[in-house]
Symmetry: C2
DNA sequence: GGTTATTTGAGGTACGCAACTCATTTTGAG
DNA sequence: CTCAAAATGAGTTGCGTACCTCAAATAACC
């Protein structure tokens, strides 16, 4: 005999009884299976809502049997970001396997739309969820939509494709990141006036373009004393960035600020240090790596805008899992913050 | 007939077979139950390790039956921090109930050691886990240790009691927070020299003392041009803080920086604004609230050091859950970061 | 009214583990 | 060697859900 004494958690059986239907019907409603009258569906859903009933995740997880497979589609090549994500996923391996989750990395050329699109197509039906560092291009958009239609949960990582039907975007607001960089450069330069240089990978990349936009916005409105020079495009390569930067420093002795939008930080820093002006020029860049950490500590770099890659990796996994389970997403938790890292709050 | 075909996840049964023991013995080993020879224990553990086997959380969770109860022991009174934590826990309610977790708030006077200690004692045996905003005092330490001995998992929140046997501390490194504040004030003041004021709640509070320590450290070593004035103790009250600050501003026309270590921000800001010097004085404080948000936006405050309370609440719950389940803790994930919040990266 | 289609009920099995009982084997002490 | 104690095996039950089958009831149609 089951006593209705304490507030022992409700089960599906209780819901069924309260709604005056059988367990099978509740199950049909819960999983959108056919063969239930609209009226009955409503009654069951109301009962669930009234009791704010939540199915026990553990029960559901156990009953479904098979493990879930997630794919992370990431840039190929000796990419530091990919290595970091991979290492953070590695740290989660215990957590993952205790939940019977398999996460696999799929390396591909994310900068070539057709290659990326076909890589995505190849995943159809194989995975329950896909996280992808996506290029915003029609064929990629179509591939993402196909995955979604195939029943997979799709999350864009770092770089979004807002026009697709992806379920979620895990990454920062790049315009706000650029604004933050602008505010930092402006404030740290102080009352001085002079020129400000920008080095980006390419203005064709969505995230870089957005950061530059935000940066210029702040510069124009809040720091009229600073004159922003045309953007140098270093293609995220160290050598090229260094050359461009060296030349620019030579031509403009009155540079007081420098914003490095993407990678190629090593080259930019080398040019700055070789010029001997690293103490006079405020240098703000992105991401906390071994390199930027060193530069911050030695004072050559003043601040780094960072989007914690560990958080991104974990958030992507959590979001995919929540989507697959049909759980609500804790959006506040999964939001990637724009971190300002200076020497004294290095993580 | 079970086929050993694919890499279908192992179960306890597989481990038992491989180790050449029965399921009951594996269970005894796993739960540190008596009645197993040391040699057998070793053999079982080795088998588990060799296969990097992780018990399926869902199975374990389902089998244990009863729900888990966690208590959050927090400051009573109209405390903004408590309200925030409570609201963030509210957002998690679906997540919590789907895992059959009950989180209860226990309000108490956390600033009175004996009251806090007896509040903690009262929880013994009732809860599987306790998160507590703790005062570092011998009687509190003893109460925490008693809870731990009673089998509860204990996490200190925001304010640590390192000498106790609490399982984990969820909060920031306050010395580093102070250093960060110092670096910000110093950098934002720029080449000017002058005096820097500090307002704290009380130097007797561990976190405040640590922040001041870190702040002074940076000031002394990196900004010799800035002269730090003696600490004002505003008891985290607006009125008192305002009076003290007004008087100080009157006496020192050459104040260029201001660090507000704790609460009472409203009062400090009012004194600063009334003096009409908010544009000349760099003002750095703590926490992003409705108030500090407004001050940042209007430019009266230059930066806020923040420890995301939502993250703290969620981390505390996750850590308690992991501890209760015997899962490893993702320390990287649970680490509370020191956020620098300026106008352009307001969350 | 009869027939078919749709909807619902009843029940079972399986998932992986915890927690227990009780029988049996092994071990160690005397 | 004997006998009690310790160690281990074998088995059962239940947790809450998913997913399945088959029968029964109800509704819709002509």
């Amino acid at each position: 005999m089951k006593e209705p004494d304490a507030t022992s958690p409700l089960t599906l059986r209780d819901i069924a009884r309260q709604a005056g239907v059988s367990l099978a019907t509740v199950d049909r409603v819960l999983h959108n299976r056919p063969g239930v009258r609209p009226d009955t569906i409503r009654r069951v859903k109301e009962t669930i809502a009234r009791n704010s009933f939540q199915p026990h995740v553990a029960g559901a997880e156990l009953a479904r049997g098979r493990a879930r497979r997630f794919a992370f589609v990431m840039p190929s090549g000796p990419n530091l970001f990919m290595q970091q994500i991979q290492s953070y996923l590695g740290e989660m391996s215990g957590w993952l396997s205790a939940r019977r989750l398999a996460v696999e990395m799929v390396a591909t050329d994310v900068f070539d739309a057709s290659v990326l699109a076909s890589s995505l197509e190849a995943l159809a039906g194989e995975y329950d969820g896909v996280a992808v560092v996506a290029l915003d291009h029609p064929s990629v958009r179509a591939a993402i939509n196909d995955l979604v239609d195939g029943g997979a949960k799709v999350v864009t990582l770092v770089s979004d494709v807002p026009s697709s039907r992806r379920h979620y975007y895990v990454g920062i607001d790049n315009i706000a990141a650029g604004r933050t960089a602008g505010a930092l450069v402006g404030r740290l330069v102080g009352p001085r006036s002079g020129k400000v240089a920008i080095v980006a990978g390419s203005q064709g990349l969505r995230d870089h373009a957005e950061r530059i936009f935000g940066f210029n916005q702040v510069m124009a409105s809040e720091f009229p004393g600073l004159n922003v020079l045309p953007v140098l495009e270093g293609r995220d390569e160290d050598e090229r960035s260094e050359q461009l930067m060296s030349r620019l420093l030579g031509r403009h002795p009155d540079i007081v600020g420098l914003y490095n939008v993407g990678a190629g930080t090593q080259g930019v820093a080398k040019a700055l240090i070789d010029s001997g002006r690293e103490k006079q020029v405020v240098f703000v860049g992105h991401d906390v790596t071994v390199l930027t950490r060193k530069l911050l500590l030695q004072g050559a770099m003043d601040a780094a805008i960072s989007q914690n890659p560990g958080h991104e990796a974990r958030a992507a996994v959590r979001v995919l899992l929540a989507l697959a389970r049909g759980e609500p997403i804790l959006s506040e938790q999964e939001k990637i913050r724009i971190d300002i890292v200076m020497r004294d709050n290095l993580p």
